[in-house]
Amino acid sequence: MVRFLEFLGAPGLRVLEKLGNMVIFFYQFLFWAIRPPYKVRHIIKQINFIGVKSLFVIFLTAFFTGGVLGLQGFYTLQKFGAEGLLGAAVALSLLRELGPVLAALMVTGRAGSAITAEIGIMRITEQIDALKTMAVNPVKFVVVPKIIAGIIAVPLLTAMFDVVGIYGGYMVGVELLGVNKGAFFAEMKTSVEFKDIYVGFLKSLSFGVIITWITCYEGYYTGHGAEGVSKSTTNSVVLSSVMVLIWDYFMTSVLI
């Protein structure tokens, strides 16, 4: 019986311990983020890595996501004779849900894994320790620019995802399937509220934090050797993807 309880308790404790450590890690981030000096150069470098280098994949996925929304929406709405609402359907799905979530998942896959691997390698090759010996705080030097860059880059990528996605929906709906162009945009404008955009923006902002927070944490506390780093990298991508989706649900239920 005690065995069984232990069997149940051990993973629970591990999860709690990890959660606690992650919170402490985030606290450290906040502490060092507000402490001068602010090295804007490092942040720009990270925005370049997280944001600019993700542009291509974001544009590509956005265009096809918008396109498939156009296709699916068209065939569903056609049943009710309401093809005119296609613009509204595409824009609302993108702004409220798909834009923030898919952009976040793309960034996780492309930049998140690299963040974990980079910090993990710095850990196992003692570069993190070397920073400490030079009186440079590794959280400030390595982690802070990445999380700040995530907070800046992810919402911007999401906004671009939305625009390109709507364009993709337009190409498929209007140019390919022949929905009336005027109706497409007019319905879009009447049904989209500022709140929809605001909610999407808040979501993407929090996703930016979640992705960089988790991937930095996993790298910073990686295991031993190359195997440890590869394990952390897998973990961090899975964990941050899952957290993005779970958090999305909570945000939606609160802000809807």
């Binding site: 090759t125 003692e126 570069q127 320790d129 070397a130 400490k132 010996t133 009186a135 440079v136 030097f141």
Partner: protein
Amino acid sequence: MIELVNVTKRFGKQVVLDGISMEFPVGKISAIIGRSGIGKSVLLKHLIGILRPDSGSVLVDGLDITKMGEIQLNEVRKKFGMLFQGAALFDSMTVFENVAFPLREKTRMKEKEIRDRVEEKLEALDLSGMGDKYPDEVSGGMKKRVGLARALIQNPDIILFDEPTTGMDPMMETAIHLMIMEAQKRFGFTAVIVSHEIPEIFHVAHRVAMLHNGTIVEDLPAEEFQNSSNPITQQFISGRIDGPIKVA
């Protein structure tokens, strides 16, 4: 001066440092020798606060660094330079940027001045012309020398060397040892070297201590150390397999 008082460190159930008390005298080169994996690097990392002991204290110039927060600790760390086993160079930066890093991050020095100082150090360590290469483009020995240049660049009071000559050819080894000795004589810094270069280390270090099973079994001036009658020390120096140290 650095002083360890009753320092104990465990990793899980394994006791790596078991109540160690010792001193590293100012302006001298102290060496810590011992078998691989015995915890020499762990001991070294305690001196600069990268690792914190489970109990006991580490005094740097009379201040206990084990009780300090990161910010206070960083002030103390400015006195230090450290060379890591694997050199621990930043692999996203060139050799030049690596050596310049402490100056760029921690001082308000002008770029021209930084350039001069870095070039001077690179030249002194036989690395001129290597500035634009990345760490993975140079040999292991060169990496070590770059790491050394980075440790020396701020002319620190105390320099910690974690196996500075591992992975070098004998000539380079001698050159590095000579360089450490000369630099030490010139700048008078306190040095702590973790090494298992026997017998060369006896010519480099003023004092030698041997770490075994979590304790310091011998801590003597270099000349006396070689003639120590301690069976553990003798077995280690002579490299015999039979003796009190069990070779797995």
